[in-house]
Subunit: 286 residues, 2 copies
């Protein structure tokens, strides 16, 4: 199959990455997508870097076997921890594969630097993402000579609150206030939503932080993906645009809340996903 | 090794089962324990029954290879969904193993029936535990002719709240009030804490429900385990009691919060756990 006809692969620890796929499908309505959610092992955000790398390799290998022309890592935790390993394995001259790999952190960091006037930038994400300082490194790289003051904060309860539908309740606001207090006291003017679940909380966060620009990594990443597909001359031929993305959806577990959450995250109903088992990468990856 | 000298195996999806091990070690200070926490795939509570069974089989097989004389399933979700499969595999005449297997649901249900005066019993647990109605079946079995009115409620945010240390905050109380409201309106006099994490919330729940008896599955299960070990004449010889249980601790991921939570759940500090990889049961179990 020529590059033009091959699908774009997207994966996440679960279905949070559908908030990224939403933007990918919006900007590239002619492309086909293969999405993998590792719902049997979600969440990755509190796991060790070694385990995140092992799981990420298994997900990317699954997509590579589906002959994708590009992989979008629609998960901040994986992007923060495993992107170099994934690129080395699936997109280096030594590799049997030559699949460009895009994460969500670089695009979001570039956008945050462009948007911030004061250089005081907050980043919220999972424990693993914040501990990695991947956003710090990416923000500093894009800042060049601009001076930055970067403030990270892990918000581990946001994912279960979103998955349970506690989107804008008093309890969720109290938890958000506790998480955001140190960022507010640092007078940030820009906040990176460094987890694919967090855009679901955008309205509440915007209400709580009216003077802060919120950066949605999904929207930024989709723009970068468009450029990357064009760069390798692999843009799908134009055809009548469908109202629903051409999407093959795979999961590692049929979880009860899938259909409800998928519709919420993607902004439209989805077909039932196909259940798959990932081949293990048995060596632990340091 | 004779039965007397073999250790007792205990497993859980993560480290919540240490609240059960605490009671086992208290009642059986001469026994050795092997504990496995599947921290690379925790939590099980929102997963499908098929995936819970697959993971439970892998955990039990690991303990069987460690030559345990009994397995305590220190996880309500696994006890609710996979106990018949585990017993059939590891303790039937057809099996290569003859390892008695005890879950947490039967002992807690028996205790709840004994404690309740009105027969109006509430059960809280994970989505998977409540959806299985395993507590309903066990309660009805033990009730015999006593009339019961059983009210189950999934409380999926309690596990992340406990793991994040939000033990008695305003937000946690608001969430608990929302979860418990239908049980309170049903005028329950007994509440089964049907998840090994929930005893950490006991003080708050007792304060919110002053007239309701709280049933801790760990304490009930430990009593049943004592009887089961005696029944197979496998009680360890008495020796000078140590202040710390003789415990080999295995996990599938070195998660950052392990030491803090383990101390809280077990009520004492623990040694660093040994990292292991479980052998996959590749066929999905229906």
């Amino acid at each position: 199959m020529s590059s033009v006809d091959r699908p774009i692969g997207v994966f996440d620890s679960g279905i949070g990455g559908l908030t990224v796929l939403k933007h990918l499908a919006r900007l590239m309505p002619n492309e086909r997508f293969v999405y993998l959610g590792d719902t049997a092992r979600v969440p990755y955000g509190n796991r060790s870097p070694e385990t995140v790398k092992t799981y990420a390799m298994e997900c990317a290998a699954f997509l590579a076997r589906h002959d994708v022309k590009m992989i979008v890592v629609a998960c901040n935790t994986v992007s923060a921890i495993a992107l170099p390993l994934l690129s080395e394995t699936f997109n280096s001259t030594d590799s049997e594969f030559h699949i460009p790999i895009i994460g969500v952190i670089e695009p979001a960091a570039r956008n945050a630097v462009e948007r911030s006037r004061t250089g005081r930038i907050g980043v919220i994400g999972t424990r693993a993402t914040i501990a990695s300082d991947a956003y710090g490194a990416a923000l500093r790289k894009h800042a060049a000579t601009k001076e930055l003051s970067i403030h990270g904060r892990a918000c581990p309860l946001f994912v279960p609150l979103v998955e349970e539908g506690w989107i804008d309740t008093t309890a969720t606001r109290l938890i958000a206030e506790e998480y955001l207090r140190p960022l507010v006291s640092q007078e940030i003017d820009t906040l990176v939503l460094g987890c694919t679940h967090y855009p679901v909380l955008s309205a509440m966060l915007a209400d709580m932080l009216p003077d802060v620009a919120l950066i949605d990594c999904g929207a930024c990443t989709a723009e970068e993906a468009v450029a990357a597909v064009a760069a390798v001359a692999a843009v799908a031929a134009e055809e009548v645009t469908l109202h629903q993305p051409k999407l093959d959806l795979y999961v590692t577990d049929h979880t009860p809340s899938f259909a409800t959450l998928a519709r919420q995250f993607l902004g439209m109903p989805v077909d039932d996903p196909v259940l798959v088992t990932l081949d293990p990468v048995r060596e632990r990856i340091a």
